[in-house]
Amino acid sequence: MGNKQTIFTDEQLDAYQDCTFFTRKEILRLHGRYHELAPHLVPMDYTNEPDVTIPLALIVSMPELNENPFRNRIVESFSEDGAGNLSFNDFVDMFSVLSETAPRELKAIYAFKIYDFNVDNFLCKEDLEKTLNKLTREELSPEEVTLVCEKAIEEADLDGDSKLSFADFENMITRAPDFLSTFHIRI
């Protein structure tokens, strides 16, 4: 175990270890992956906390995200400016929430953000239609898309406002035990 690394100070590594679900070795490995996405932008020395962000297009080129239908929404939900530019903190947060040890409540919050395309804190019919199109490569006819989304809202909507609030979504998640293992990206 290196005390020889000069990328972070020990306090920074401890802070990362406390705030995320990663160990020191994993955080250093993550920094390596972050650096190799944009070697000219990302400094190797993070001890003075540089203010560097990597644009969306580079992040979604990672092999772990490359084929994911929701890659753009995932990166946008974790970026501070909402446009998908991730600083290293955002990058680590993203993979921490998507790791195996993150608790169900945290994953539910971010899954809701990912599916909420128009960012209005509700999953309305348009959001569900966009989700469905991303999942089926737009090969269902428009009537079928409408039918599936209506059925989904009917099943999950508890308070009857024909859109899914976070409480409805979380209630559905508690009845889906596989969610913890499917909402998971290994890095």
Binding site: N68, T131, L135, A152, L158, F179, L180
Partner: protein, 552 residues
């Protein structure tokens, strides 16, 4: 409370830092085949950890002291190493530290080394390992149940398929495309499904129940029949000196593994005539039948070893250890053969000969049950053959790579998004209940009641294995300062009242927790009703105060 959570976080950090084994391979498998198939490999890795721990404990506390005091085993003249021992475990091996018979019963103390009581070491090592295993299994079963098992079945409805079923860990392009196709097909199917008639006419239902009864009777009968035939085959099996007769001892494990391979295929034929309302019930039925078959064969074998072998042979623990060794080795060979036929040949037949069958899917349930069976053999064998975990470690290591290669070459990703998390809980429960508890009760029965053999092993000359503890307690009685240990032994461990009280307290706690759970279920129903009422009352009309007041 805080300190406990800090401790557990530190422990989990340390375990994750050290258990980086196979991380890259598992990421690759998960990326192409999804979390359902990955759960098999995670289970395999978990079982490997049990065996590594067992090996370290046994080797460190039992074998190393034996090797220090008796570096060369006493092999009688005329017995030399022929190659057959690797398969049969008998012959040259039966006099080494591989089996119970190779350990001495003296309290060692020669040549400047400190005194080491071999009897107590053997007893306490095995007991401590079993207790720790049991605790680890109960803990993971409880946490898995709490996190992943949902009692109210919400069904695989549209909302679930849309929002919860996408597997984010799949990263391979072809696999992603295939999953999107599968999801589209499933959605189209569920849209076009006609509403099923809820109640079939009475004659149809009676016919279904009749078919169920018939198939269950047939499968249980077959399991018992196989058990009986194994028993009669075993009684006719005697091992002795010549090479041919030693090779003939392999016949029994061969028959057992053949039954374990062929009969489940026969059970899967029942799928054609049975009609379950729920496809999940079908998977459960297959699992239960397989477990009954494997456990009844193992049960018959254990019964034979306890009753007949223990009374007939002179160094019977080593004989049982050798039988278990042979079972483990032949089981490994059959798993390799099963992989060859089940996956490679199915792939060839599915792609070249009968195109309609297609590329096979990886059958997670059958493979996990094979793993559970293999681990049961290892747990039974710990007492009779302390170094059996070594064979198990090698077996699991090779099996990991074998299955991975077979998977990537021959199988396709699963078509239906299944209930992987609930299956995981059930597999851990099966690992605990018939498998570990059965092995533990057999070892406990051996230690408690069966007389050890007279001329070999660490417990020779005693009435039962447990008498070693009794003797130690008598010795401690004479030593000042250790009276409290003797008191605990006599009034707590050996008294029946203690166990009776503990069982009573546990039953009371179970009752209390069950009542709390029932109360909470009722509260959930009332709260759900309240949500609907509050929101519908906001949209229209006067507030329905009655419903709001009664749920606080």
């Amino acid at each position: 409370m805080n300190c406990f959570s800090d401790c557990s976080t530190t422990v989990s950090l340390v375990t994750r830092q050290t258990l980086e084994l196979w991380r890259g391979t598992m990421k690759e498998v998960g990326g192409k085949f999804g979390t359902g198939v990955l759960s098999y490999f995670k289970f395999l890795k978990w079982l490997l950890m049990f065996n590594i721990f067992s090996f370290l404990v046994n080797f460190g506390f039992i074998t190393i002291p034996q090797l220090i005091y008796h570096p060369t085993p006493d092999i009688p003249t005329g017995v030399s190493f022929k190659g057959l021992e690797i398969l049969t475990g008998a012959g040259y091996f039966s006099h080494t530290v591989m089996y119970y018979g190779g350990y001495s019963n003296k309290t060692q103390g020669t040549g400047g080394w400190p005194e080491y009581n071999m009897q107590l070491a053997y007893f306490f090592t095995i007991t401590a390992y079993m207790v720790l295993c049991g605790a680890a299994l109960i803990y993971s079963m409880a946490s898995s149940f709490r996190k992943k098992y949902v009692l109210a079945d919400s069904g695989l409805g549209g909302a679930w398929q849309l929002l919860c079923s996408w597997d984010f860990s799949v990263t391979n392009e072809r696999a992603v495309r295939q999953r999107k196709n599968n999801l589209r097909i499933q959605l189209k199917e569920s849209l076009s499904e006609k509403v099923q008639v809820a109640l079939l006419p009475l004659t149809e239902r009676l016919k279904h129940y009749g078919v169920f009864l018939g198939t269950w009777l047939l499968s249980t009968g077959m399991a018992l029949g196989c058990g009986a035939s194994v028993y009669f085959l075993q009684s006719a099996d005697k091992a002795s000196g010549s090479l041919l007769e030693e090779a003939a001892t392999l016949l029994l494990p061969f028959v057992v593994s053949l039954i374990n391979l062929v009969v489940p295929l026969f059970y899967s034929l029942f799928k054609k005539i049975e009609h379950y309302s729920n496809p999940r019930m079908q998977v459960y039925a297959i699992i239960v039948r397989n477990v009954i078959l494997k456990m009844s064969i193992l049960g018959i074998l254990c019964y034979y070893w306890m009753k007949d072998v223990a009374n007939t042979f002179s160094c019977w623990e080593s004989i049982v250890g050798q039988a278990l060794y042979r079972l483990v080795i032949v089981d490994f060979l059959f798993i390799m053969l099963g992989s060859f036929f089940g996956e490679f040949l199915s792939n060839v037949i599915g792609t070249k000969c009968i195109q309609s069958l297609g590329v096979p899917e990886f059958d997670v349930a059958r493979n996990v049950l094979d793993l559970i069976y293999a681990q049961t053999l290892a747990w039974i064998g710990i007492y009779f053959s302390p170094l059996l975990p070594v064979i198990q470690i090698i077996k699991f290591f090779i099996l990991f790579y074998l299955k991975k290669v077979s998977l990537t070459q021959n199988c396709q990703p699963p078509r239906r998004a299944g209930r992987a998390a609930q299956m995981q809980t059930i597999f851990i429960a099966i690992l605990f209940f018939p498998s570990f508890v059965g092995a533990l009760s057999m070892v406990a029965y051996t230690m408690w009641t069966l007389p050890p053999s007279d001329n070999c092993g660490p417990f020779r000359g005693l009435n039962t294995t447990f008498s070693a503890i009794q003797i130690w307690m008598d010795d401690l009685n004479g030593v000042d300062g250790f009276q409290w240990i003797v008191w605990i032994y006599q009034h707590v461990i050996r008294s029946e009242i203690f166990y009776f009280l503990v069982s009573l307290i546990i039953l009371v706690f179970i009752y209390i927790f069950r009542q709390i759970t029932q109360g909470r279920k009722l509260l959930i129903i009332l709260l759900r009703q309240q949500i609907v009422n509050v929101s519908s009352s906001e949209l229209s009309g006067p507030k329905c105060l009655v419903h709001q007041c009664c749920c606080v």
